[in-house]
């Protein structure tokens, strides 16, 4: 692949954890292949350039994370890029995919109050307009309103149950040690942006 770029030791992240592999980009697509034998080694995820909705970069401890949002709302997270990779890939994406990658910042203040943003299938919790975390609503098995002000999201217990196929593949690749099973938000009466109106899967 003369026109592409390959990056080894790139972690694919998901609900349960991360998995190491090789990241590849060509003028037609982005792909990632899990390294090692057994346990899903050699498994590949491919994203055609026409399926890419947007691309984001985020500085995380020691390295950079690429977020690839695809048409059905899922976001793939690839971690392990160097600063110079960010520069070269940003140019590459622009030139070959016609996509400008956006920069996101990770919330490091440690605060638990902010805003909730719903885009596609992803729910982001932002603290001071920096991203604390993102969760996929495709993994939510149940949503409850508790009292007047609390919204509870329960996640599938079975990690291989994804509401969409791409996530199912992603989940099967990752063997979580500590996995998120429930999360709840408190929405004070003073809040005017009401998240309860969204139709959640």
């Amino acid at each position: 692949m003369s026109d592409g770029h390959t990056f080894s030791s790139i972690l694919l992240g998901g609900r349960g954890g991360t998995s190491p592999g090789t990241f590849n980009v060509s003028s037609k697509k982005i792909s990632w292949t899990k390294s090692g034998g057994g346990g899903g080694g050699g498994k590949t995820i491919e994203v055609d350039k026409s399926d890419i909705v947007n691309l984001t970069w985020m500085k995380v401890p020691r390295t950079f994370q690429l977020g690839v949002r695809i048409r059905d709302g899922l976001v793939y997270k690839f971690t392990g890029f160097k600063e110079q990779d960010v520069t070269s890939l940003t140019t590459y994406f622009q030139k070959n995919f016609g996509k400008t990658s956006e920069e996101k910042q990770l919330s490091i203040s440690g605060h638990n109050w902010g805003e909730v943003d719903l885009t596609g299938n992803m729910l982001s919790f932002l603290v001071g307009s920096k991203q604390a975390f993102e969760v996929s609503l495709a993994d939510v098995s149940q949503t409850q309103l508790q009292g007047k002000n609390d919204v509870v999201l329960e996640f599938h217990m079975d990690d291989t149950t994804g509401a969409n196929e791409a996530y199912g593949v992603l989940a099967a690749l990752l063997g979580p040690k500590d996995s998120l099973i429930e999360i709840s938000f408190h929405i004070p009466n003073s809040n005017t942006q009401y998240v309860g109106d969204e139709n959640r899967p």
Binding site: L11, I108, G114, P176, I181
Partner: protein
């Protein structure tokens, strides 16, 4: 016990876990386990492949459970405004319109790790709460 969280809650908005992304500890293992950073008084939670920091002063209570299948469960409840004995007044005025993360629960393949983490959080929480209440007393 969970305590009343008063000392910690009052100053939670002034307490910052990290100033720089590089001050965060790197993930200890690829499976991304819950980590405690005592130096920076932070709890790092693995959420969707990323470590997300929370200052221990935002924590109201933490508990763990273990079932027969050797699976551990951990629940963290955060301080939110408007709960009894937690007059978050200054904060709720300052952050009117905010949405609060109230609770997170994790399931773990390693129950021992979970109970260890819970103990560490409780200790750290006590330390920070007593330091902050001493500071508040000195200020008055």
């Amino acid at each position: 016990g969970s305590g009343d969280g008063r000392g910690a809650a009052r100053s939670a908005s002034d307490l910052i876990a990290y100033k720089n992304v590089n001050d965060m500890p790197p993930p200890r293992d690829r499976e991304l386990m819950i980590q405690i950073d005592q130096k920076n008084e932070a709890i790092l939670l693995p959420i969707y492949g990323s470590m997300v920091p929370f200052h221990v002063a935002t924590v109201k209570s933490v508990s763990s459970q273990q079932d027969n299948n050797r699976t551990g469960y951990m629940r963290i409840i955060f301080n939110v405004p408007g709960t009894a004995f937690n007059p978050h007044d200054a904060n709720s005025l300052k952050f009117q319109g905010s949405i609060y993360l109230k609770e997170v629960s994790f399931r773990s393949k390693d129950p021992r790790h979970v109970s260890e983490v819970v103990q560490l959080i409780k200790t750290l929480r006590r330390q920070v709460a007593s330091r902050e209440s001493e500071r508040a007393e000195r200020a008055t």
